[in-house]
Symmetry: C2
């Protein structure tokens, strides 16, 4: 057994224990670590660099769609949350409360924001007077605290990072259009940059955001067949604007309540990326969000420091100049084989090897993380080859995930088959639902399965079948799955 | 009195009431607003866009100097703060405490981070084992809470945003070099991008960060003659590494404690920018950090929508393409004069007017915010002219501030003159200090003046004079000032 094998063997195979594999990947790649408090994690530089790429790429889209960023307070007075009981009851079990400031006991408890509708609503009431002030299209990047009982790094932690958009509009139609526009933006972003295909759709009323009129989400399949909610977009109607008195004078000089939306994605996307693309050797990070897109490994043979190293350093410099995120690993205390596994585990999309023979031949060896395919490439014009290969890796990761999603999305004929598929294969199960919450609850209880989304677009129009549970006429064709 | 005049008159003149002028500017320009809780502000899009520019320009420098970003928890268990009593005592009066999570009363209170040395130290103890793991050069962008009694938007608020760097090194020399390197980076950043000249130097022992071996700071003069601390860089020695047990095996296989630094700047810089450059007409934002670098105002005369507007829109597009932050104000409900004052108040560095005559002559009118100087410029090649003018505005703001700083930095002969200058003129007073805290305290008590910094570099070497207070031999040539 050589060093490389031994090294990789340290990771529990995915097939053996997915959950342990996930936790080991997160720790060993130094994406995150446990803080000394229950359920709280530290995002280490390697994980945070992925978040920075996500932020940059999504922030560009949010701004191109006309939004601006702002920053609202971390603390929300309890009385503000109490103004909206449905909202408060939805979040109360998860709120961390500040009761003391310095030496003084506070008269009113302050919630550490579990979401910001209440505090933002109270400010919008001050800022919005006329239809001329609308639309208000504001986003914030912030930390959020929810006191979770069961936690898992990136997927569910007491504190996490996210963006939350909060908009106010003149008409119901505009708010609905914004809700869907953002949902589509999320889908395009996640599919393009994270290479994860998603299903977009409505949530069932039971799974709506507390206070929302309608909640939409994008959902993806992880490689263990469980679903993960990747982002949500809520049409809030006039619910919060009535509670917080966000009124404006309309074009006919009449007072109206504003129509609102809110929407967000979080550091959970990093967990999605691990579970959607990772394999037994470790991470496979899509090049678009990879902290390191290509690692250069000089092969330490003979007088490599004189012959190979200068060429490798020149290559690094050339690729950095071309705007690629590249790193050379010239450490002397590790063998090339050890480094191969290390960077494979860390999911770097492309490895460039340069050894004495390669230098003589004026070439490098390119090894793709997704396929392990090796090829020679001339040093001259290498940056174009690298760029092209990175694009191929990005597409190939998306294609693999899409293939997996399609193979694991199944229409079922009856409830027996539903249960059988969920038990043996997981994935998305597509079935008609009558719209009755009793059926939804029964399915959840008996199969630990929930309605993930009711798709916005169906691939083919079809007339409603029977509800999978009760047999009554189906109203919604729903995607069911076990989920994180 | 025309509309323009009336509009500007809404701001209290600086000379009449600086503090009121400041608060009015902040509110009227929509940089920030008060949240419904004491001492807490909302950073509105116009203010936040300045922060985003600050973040981008400083983050580039932080990364170029070899640091990486990460994210550490908001909550710090009380026992962690208690490990370091000096640190705890320094911050305890300002800590907001979480005592309840969901429905459960916490066994141990959690501090909402007032700074992150304790939590980061505890993680570094896990991550650092060998000299090969060093240096650790990590920065984070985060929100901070300090329960302040007297608050003022951007300058001192219960919650604020900042970056905090935390590094660990193999040797004392390296840590000291890092401390100074960051201080110089801050100075260069603030002078180049915010156009505010600063004095860099050491703090007196009394004003050290709790737990630090030495604290360095950059200090600037605001236009009312009071000083503002703009950023700090601390050499922490081995103090925290001993408390949190951050040990490593050195090159001789011996166990050593790591040498640490920490450093930060905050949203306070936005307040500095207002107070250093603003005038009676409002803000004057340095082009490098201005959300809008140039505003284009089409003059609404005659058939302006057919003749002027298309030219103005074309100009906007051309300047946006050139990477400039430009906005056209084509609102019909306001007159050009009203718009001139509005954008002057908001501190946009450059105004471009395009009227019917200008279109015919193939030109635009350029008006600089800093000098109110008008000039014609040909539409052909205008982007180069705009770029050049913005650079001139940037330099001119710095030059004005530097001139003010120099004119308001005074050497005094004795304590009587010291008091007289501070009372009548404020500014920096440069005087010898014996190093005795009794003298420092007496000056503070009698003149409300503190030692801002003991400069790193003196312009001319001179032999120590007498301490301004006690007359004993001076040990430090210090910059004194009243400060925010």
């Amino acid at each position: 057994m050589d060093k490389e094998e031994r090294f990789v063997k340290q990771i529990t195979p995915k097939s053996e224990d997915f959950s342990r594999w996930y936790l080991e990947i997160i720790r060993k790649t130094e994406m995150a670590d446990y803080a000394p408090m229950k359920g709280i994690m530290v995002i280490r530089p390697y994980g945070y660099a992925i978040w920075e790429n996500i932020q940059r790429l999504l922030d560009n889209r949010i701004k191109e769609a006309g939004h601006v960023n702002a920053y609202f307070p971390l603390f929300i007075p309890e009385s503000f949350l109490q103004k909206e009981m449905e909202h408060l009851e939805g979040f109360a079990p998860e709120v961390a409360w500040v009761t003391q400031g310095g030496q003084e006991q506070l008269e009113e408890r302050l919630a550490v924001r579990p979401t910001s509708e209440a505090i933002i609503g109270s400010m919008y009431a001050k800022w919005i007077q006329s239809y001329r002030d609308l639309p208000v299209l504001i986003n914030q990047w912030a930390n959020i605290v929810r006191w979770e009982k069961v936690t898992r790094p990136f997927l569910r932690t007491t504190e996490f990072l996210w963006q939350e958009g909060h908009t106010a509009h003149e008409t119901e139609e505009e708010a609905q259009a914004e809700t869907i526009r953002v949902l589509s933006m999320y889908k395009e972003f996640v599919e393009t940059e994270l290479a994860i295909p998603v299903i977009e759709g409505r949530k069932s009323p039971r799974q709506r955001f507390p206070g929302a009129k309608e909640t939409y989400a994008i959902e993806a399949l992880m490689s263990d067949g469980k679903a993960l909610q990747m982002g949500t977009s809520h049409n809030l109607g006039q619910h919060f604007s009535k509670v917080f008195d966000i009124r404006f004078e309309d074009r006919e000089q009449k007072q109206q309540y504003a129509w609102q939306t809110s929407w967000g994605v979080s550091t959970r996307l990093i967990g999605a990326l691990v579970m959607a693309h990772g394999d037994d050797s470790g991470l496979r990070i899509p090049p678009q969000v990879a902290p390191i897109q290509a690692v250069i490994i000089p092969i330490s043979l003979g007088n490599w420091k004189e012959s190979v190293l200068p060429v490798a350093l020149g290559l690094e410099n050339e690729l950095l100049q071309a705007g690629l995120r590249v790193k050379i690993d010239a450490r002397e205390e590790f063998t090339p084989g050890w480094k191969f596994s290390e960077w494979e585990m860390r999911g770097v999309p492309l490895r460039l090897e340069v050894g004495p023979k390669d230098v003589k031949a004026g070439r490098a060896v390119l090894v793709r993380r997704d396929t392990s395919k090796k090829e020679f490439a001339a040093l001259t014009g290498l940056k174009e080859q690298v760029r092209k290969t990175l694009q191929e890796v990005q597409s190939s990761l998306f294609d693999q995930a899409l293939k997996f999603q399609r193979e694991n999305t199944r229409r079922v004929a009856d409830y027996a088959e539903f249960k059988e598929v969920i038990e043996s294969k997981r994935g998305f199960v597509v079935a008609w639902w009558c719209g009755d919450e009793a059926c939804e609850d029964r399915i959840k209880e008996e199969t630990m399965t929930t309605i993930r989304v009711i798709p916005l677009k169906l691939e083919a129009k079809e007339s409603p079948g029977a509800c999978i549970t009760c047999g009554k006429k189906g109203r919604e064709l729903a995607y069911f799955a076990r989920a994180y």
